[in-house]
Point group: C2
């Protein structure tokens, strides 16, 4: 296939590509900047085709550096800025990256081989020989996700994965060269990164933000600038509240909100309908390079709680059954599914019989709509971030005062869900000390927000903690 960036700059040079903090780029200027940056990366010691990590919040400079990395055909490990130094270093070690490009604010998390993004921007621009053709099976990005084991696994996302994801998404909801995506999702998550990939493939503009700001988002929607946006339940609620309080009209130019990261409550959907906002609920994961099933807006209320049907290129099935309404593990197949993990999980097959086993439990109704009833490994989704109980439990057990630990999500008005810790402790236990220990080892959104000291944890016959019973301990 053609080099997407060179092709995009050739085909639609004058179309708007990116806007960030008042700075705007056409596809021509953005790709020119990416070419320059590629030359600067070479000066900074980056080798084409090598595996490098990026550690930066959203910015135009991050976008330019991502695109530059693609021009150099590097494998880009996208690190989550919210993680602690311990977490980041574990990932960097597992990925065996040659260099890490980090902003000055983030660099303290990296032990070695760090290059400051701000310094790269000052480097001499070397002339780089760039491939005009790319290979589908090459790795574009790598993102870490924990899953059932509690140990983060690096997921390889190829050019083919991203391309088929972008194309099947467009077949589902349509696309127009005039679409403008508002992106407040972090680019280090596939939800944000995939917006960037769709942008270059579709030739669309991205309005990028470092973080979600309700007033700014609402402004871009009601003035008719933004046509699409990705949200989670929490950000959707903020937007709806502001629209309602200020009695604002959403113009028909706003086409779609893609809502991921767990089910959107019915009352939000009704409010969205009232506000003239079309919601497409979606189900996907890092291993499926973003969406794998999406519910069209016209079905939002008729199929409440469903995440829709597979996208055009994908197949989905429930393990062990072809009957409707029978629950089982959700399995996915298609050109968007990662071919492999990297690092210590590299030898683990992502597939069984050609199908990705997601660990999530769900069923299909009699019209073939998917309902996800239980997220993998008791996944806690907090403000759109995935939190795996096993990972928190391992940290808790690392402290001498904690003898046993179980973690589950507890409903939270603002974040949807937050982690709660159930622990069996020593006589010397002091909560402040364990909390401080968590803060040092975990991203703050993963630190337990509720603490319960108990005499024992509910366990099954093989002594595994039954996390779904933890909440019952409270009642």
């Amino acid at each position: 296939m053609q080099n997407w960036l060179l092709q995009r700059a050739y085909l639609t040079p004058e179309r708007q590509a990116l806007q960030f903090e008042g700075r705007t780029y056409t596809w021509y200027t953005l790709v020119e900047q990416a070419k320059r940056r590629a030359g600067q990366l070479i000066t900074a010691g980056i080798t084409p085709h090598s595996r490098i990590a990026l550690l930066s919040p959203n910015s135009d400079e991050l976008v330019i550096t991502i695109y530059a990395g693609m021009l150099l055909q590097c494998e880009l490990v996208m690190c989550n800025c919210r993680l602690s130094a311990t977490e980041i270093q574990a990932q960097l070690q597992d990925a065996e990256v040659t260099q890490v490009i980090a902003t000055s604010e983030q660099q303290h998390k990296v032990a070695s081989n760090v290059i400051l993004l701000e310094e790269v921007q000052q480097k001499e621009v070397r002339i780089v020989d760039m491939a005009t053709e790319w290979q589908e099976q090459n790795t574009l990005s790598i993102m870490y996700t924990s899953g059932t084991t509690g140990s983060p696994k690096g997921v390889r996302q190829t050019y083919g994965n991203h391309l088929s994801s972008a194309l099947s998404a467009s077949l589902n909801v349509g696309m127009s060269p005039e679409d403008v995506w508002l992106c407040t999702m972090p680019l280090f998550h596939v939800s944000g990164f995939s917006i960037l990939m769709r942008a270059v493939i579709y030739g669309n503009e991205v309005l990028l933000y470092e973080r979600f700001d309700t007033a700014e988002v609402v402004h871009q929607i009601i003035t008719g600038k933004a046509t699409h946006m990705s949200v989670v339940a929490y950000t959707l609620a903020q937007i709806l509240t502001q629209l309602e309080q200020q009695n604002l009209d959403v113009p028909p130019s706003f086409k779609l909100m893609l809502a991921g990261g767990g089910t959107i409550p019915e009352r939000y959907l009704l409010r969205a309908q009232q506000a003239n906002i079309r919601i497409a609920q979606t189900y996907g994961m890092t291993e499926t390079c973003s969406q794998t099933a999406t519910l069209p807006p016209q079905d939002a209320l008729r199929k409440l709680g469903s995440t829709g049907k597979p996208l055009f290129f994908n197949a989905m099935r429930i393990e062990g059954t072809t009957e409707p309404f029978i629950q089982g593990e959700i399995c996915v197949k298609g050109p968007h599914v990662t071919p492999a993990y990297i690092g210590k999980f590299a030898t683990r097959n992502t597939m069984q019989d050609g199908w990705l086993h997601t660990g999530d439990i769900g069923y299909f109704d009699d019209e073939g709509y998917l309902y996800v009833v239980d997220r993998r490994a008791d996944l806690i989704i907090s403000g759109g971030e995935n939190i795996y109980p096993a990972e928190i439990e391992q940290v808790l057990l690392g402290h001498a005062m904690v003898l046993e630990a179980g973690v589950c999500g507890i409903e939270d008005e603002r974040w949807g869900s937050v982690p709660a810790a159930f622990i069996v402790v020593t006589t010397s236990y002091r909560q402040e000390e364990v909390e401080a220990y968590c803060k040092a080892h975990l991203a703050s959104y993963k630190c337990p927000k509720h603490w319960f000291v108990v005499s024992q944890l509910p366990r099954n016959a093989s002594n595994k903690i039954m996390r779904h019973q933890l909440r019952e301990l409270l009642t």
Copy 2:
């Protein structure tokens, strides 16, 4: 990849799929009909994966049979109904088809193994085991095109060719699930066939017609039913004239006319602009499975005479140069390019160094827009049909009264161009007899419309006819 038809019927069963002579089909009913037809084809003796020919004008029954053939994974040789029995039989023999499905009106052109379409429709429906997954490299359709040799070559068009063509077309002009394509192009040409393939991939509706009818087309446009249509200069002129004479308004719901088969005159573009019709001029051929370069409507007048830039997945270059404004042979590369011919041309490489050499002459301007200056082998495009002079010359030379023959196109107000014959004859020459001979051996649109008896033909040093000098003989 998934079986497109089963996937489409699963994903959007209730969406409109097809309309023909007042009969309408949703995607569910259309695919159900195709499944039944597949069962009837089995009863009629068709073997899955075999190569069969279809010989029928446009109809819903033809669409159902094409889709049924895909469900059986047959290779479909799409025969041009306008061809003579001699021409059809040469193609069938070359393609070595096991059976031919023809309408009763067309069956006289087929010597053996013909099955009447009307009879297939009455056959018992057998249960068929259909593959749920398809392979990109499998052949979907085969179409004959003459090219420089004058001898029709069967072009293999794979599932991957059609898929990438449909996807890159959508990236160029956008697509919406609500789009409705009006199709008066014959389904046996790639211009029409690709509308059917895009329909199943996009999930769009097709308004199908057996032939172009100005009043009906204008009705579908002005009532807001149709959103897209493929035209050639001749049909575009008819539509514009009717709109102008009746002073009709084209609603904004009509999005695009895709104009192929040669350059659209400037005065048509100006009239189209006046009528509020957006024109995208395109360049493509059977070997590229439809479009390979298309000029966006906003550039129609700024880049007069250009056919635009390559589609997103494609690359194009001019043989022997990378400089703008230098003419040379147009070469094309991409996943939409046929992998091979069949039959007696099966061993001929379609590619040289990975590039399809089109035989057409063109150049790029300094912004990378393609201009086609000379069609391959002095191609005559008459009302959207391609006519190759060499093929007509061979027929002429088959008659004893003709000693030498040269054919070129002459401008025609209605058809754009029509073939003219320049012949050196015997003393016993009688024009009526040669004309009748042509009619028996050639589709009527290929028969010369102008006859010139000359004493000698312009030839170059190696005695090849210089067709571009033929017209000069008249002045």
